[in-house]
Symmetry: C2
Subunit: 154 residues, 2 copies
């Protein structure tokens, strides 16, 4: 259950675009975003292109060009961004959780994967880019982070 560099970079870049959107400054240049978040520039261009193809981002070329969000930051969830660059949020050996076949004592595993995906969604589909910019997460998510136990790795 790894979060790839690609997904992480995409979210960081998107958060920069969200801030620019909220603050009303114009298009952000790739150079600026990459520098602000410490992302290799060419790699990030690649990633932002994916976001553009999925309709999350708009662009303009030329001297006064750059990138900006296609819709308000509050309408883009983190799940939207991740799906744009990585495909489905959760899958089992390359298949959708509901597509995997289990036999005998393992039968309930399918439902477990469904539950896993659902729990991922409750976080990633409720947090929006606007939440990142504002610095306040939705109550459900905030609640998960309150438990000190959540901050230790096992």
């Amino acid at each position: 259950m790894q979060v790839s560099a690609r997904a992480d970079y995409a979210l960081r870049a998107a958060s920069e675009l969200a801030r620019a959107k909220v603050e009303g400054t114009g298009p952000l240049k790739g150079e600026r975003i990459a520098a602000a978040q410490g992302i290799p520039k060419k790699f990030m261009e690649n990633i932002l292109l994916d976001l553009k193809h999925h309709g999350l981002v708009r662009t303009q070329r030329g001297a006064s060009g750059g990138y900006w969000l296609a819709v308000p930051a509050a309408e883009i969830t983190l799940a939207d961004v991740i799906r744009a660059v990585e495909g489905p949020l959760a899958n089992v050996r390359g298949e959708w959780p509901e597509a995997v076949e289990y036999t005998g004592s393992a039968e309930k595993l399918r439902e477990v994967w469904i539950a896993v995906r659902a729990s991922l969604r409750t976080v990633l589909e409720t947090v929006t880019l606007a939440d990142l910019v504002e610095g306040s997460l939705p109550p459900v998510v905030e609640g998960l982070t309150r438990n000190p136990e959540a901050w230790v790795h096992h």
Copy 2:
């Protein structure tokens, strides 16, 4: 956010061992487990060896040998099995969620990853191998699967 073949196989094999434990039949041979779950035998031996090294499984060699759970099935969670074969449940670009540094508008991402990990844990640390065998998941997890929306992929 992929579930690897290794983790999937580990859980399936473990569920077979759990059933044998609950039913009180003796050690299970690798051959039997592999056949029952359709797992390549040598690959599965490899995986079960990991489970053994982590103290989840005991073994005996020879004609009347086989594999069995080291502790009752109700005391082994799915998270235990996954961690034994894959390491940490969730990490961001190879690091623990709480170790990743974010700057500016991306700062809240760390808390998001913490929440993601916490939500994974609420599923994988509550379901035990005994639950799989009995065919009844804990209420919290069962609840997640009840929502029809959880069964569609986006």
